[in-house]
């Protein structure tokens, strides 16, 4: 009797501990986060504007507005200096054993990109125990879960970044992979941007990077929801879009925001290996002094007409 009990007990223990060692889930539902938020190693990072945070936030959450993770106005996708980011992470009291949960507003599918971008940034700095609150504060509110206004006292950590370059693609990386049949460049923007019918203000021309394919960021979300699909569903979508395996997948968009959603879904949810993001994206790609290869750009005639129209208005 005692031996059977010990056998069952050790089997249970193994399964439970292996589940714990299996890694942090990349997305947490509001209920799951609510259950975890009392744990000592949890750090909830609220990336909404300071005014929204001041009004109401998840108890124990710290504020780190999205802008502090981003670059200057003419190149928002550029990563801030490593020392600046490291200081930010230290001030948030995050270290390698902290489980950081990124919380955004959750009101649109685009907003998820902000959370995904911060997740990507933290992973790039070397952190591994990361999650995003699926649906952000919108789903937290919908679940009627508690919020408060208290600013938690957080002791600064001694975090030193161990930069993870495997998830970052530089401009020269992207340039090198354009003609590589074993690589995929993924444009995460809505179709109109991909086709060159419209452009962001930070890009100097409409169009996409040469040989890129379009995986709109919106396909990863549940219908009529701002929550991303589950890992299994993401795997299914990815298998449908990318039947063949490649060596390298690089996600990009205008400023490395929508791209973060694609990267997150492909890498963290669908579990596809070798997925990177080009953080500066097209804002940088189109502003280089010598023209880099692009597709779906307007003809010179169309460009001239557009300029003339701009002058006459």
């Amino acid at each position: 009797m005692k031996r059977r009990f010990l056998f069952v007990f050790s089997a249970l223990l193994t399964t439970v501990s292996s589940a714990a060692l299996a890694g942090t889930p990349p997305i947490l539902s509001a209920q799951e986060l609510d259950a975890l938020r009392g744990d000592g190693d949890i750090r909830i990072v609220d990336i909404r504007p300071t005014a929204a945070y001041a009004e109401n936030h998840i108890p124990g959450a710290v504020s780190a507005p999205y802008a502090s993770w981003r670059g200057p106005a003419n190149n928002p996708g550029k990563l801030p200096e490593l020392t600046t980011l490291a200081q930010l992470v230290q001030q948030l009291g995050i270290d390698y054993d902290t489980h950081a949960v990124v919380v955004s507003t959750g009101d649109t599918t685009t907003d998820f990109g902000a959370a995904a971008r911060v997740y990507w940034t933290l992973k790039h700095l070397g952190l591994e125990k990361l999650s995003v609150l699926n649906g952000g504060m919108t789903s937290w509110n919908a679940a009627g879960l508690p919020q408060d206004k208290e600013q938690p006292q957080v002791a600064a950590s001694a975090f030193e970044p161990r930069v993870n370059t495997a998830i970052l693609a530089t401009q020269s990386d992207v340039l090198a992979q354009i003609d590589n049949p074993k690589a995929r460049l993924v444009d995460a923007r809505p179709k109109a941007f991909f086709l060159g019918e419209t452009k962001a203000p930070t890009a100097s021309t409409p169009g996409t990077i040469r040989n890129a394919v379009n995986i709109e960021h919106s396909i990863w979300f549940k219908p009529n929801s701002t929550e991303v699909v589950s890992a299994e569903q993401a795997k299914a979508i990815a298998a449908e879009r990318f039947p063949e395996l490649v060596d390298d997948t690089i996600a990009f968009c205008n400023t490395g925001h929508w791209a973060a959603t694609d990267w997150f879904a492909l890498s963290e949810l669908a579990g596809i290996p070798n997925v990177r993001m080009y953080p500066e994206s097209l804002a940088e790609w189109t502003q280089t002094s010598s023209a880099l290869p692009m597709d779906n750009t307007p003809s010179r005639g169309a460009q001239l007409l557009d300029r003339l129209k701009g002058v006459l208005n």
């Binding site: 280089t288 002094s289 010598s290 023209a291 460009q303 300029r307 701009g310 002058v311």
Partner: protein, 54 residues
């Protein structure tokens, strides 16, 4: 009058050859970064070379 015509032709041929040579050996024009037609009101500071430069 004849020599003058020759001189004239020489002048323009030399000029065209210079401009053609310069076009081929310069960096290609990046049409994506084309400056606005009118600088006034464009918000871009002038970057051209000028005689008063030092």
């Amino acid at each position: 009058m004849q020599t003058r015509s020759v001189f004239l032709a020489l002048f323009w041929v030399a000029l065209i050859i210079f401009l053609g040579w310069d076009w081929t050996q310069s960096r290609p024009v990046n049409l994506r970064l084309e400056p606005p037609l009118i600088a006034a009101g464009s918000g871009q500071a002038p970057s051209g070379g000028h005689c008063s430069a030092f």
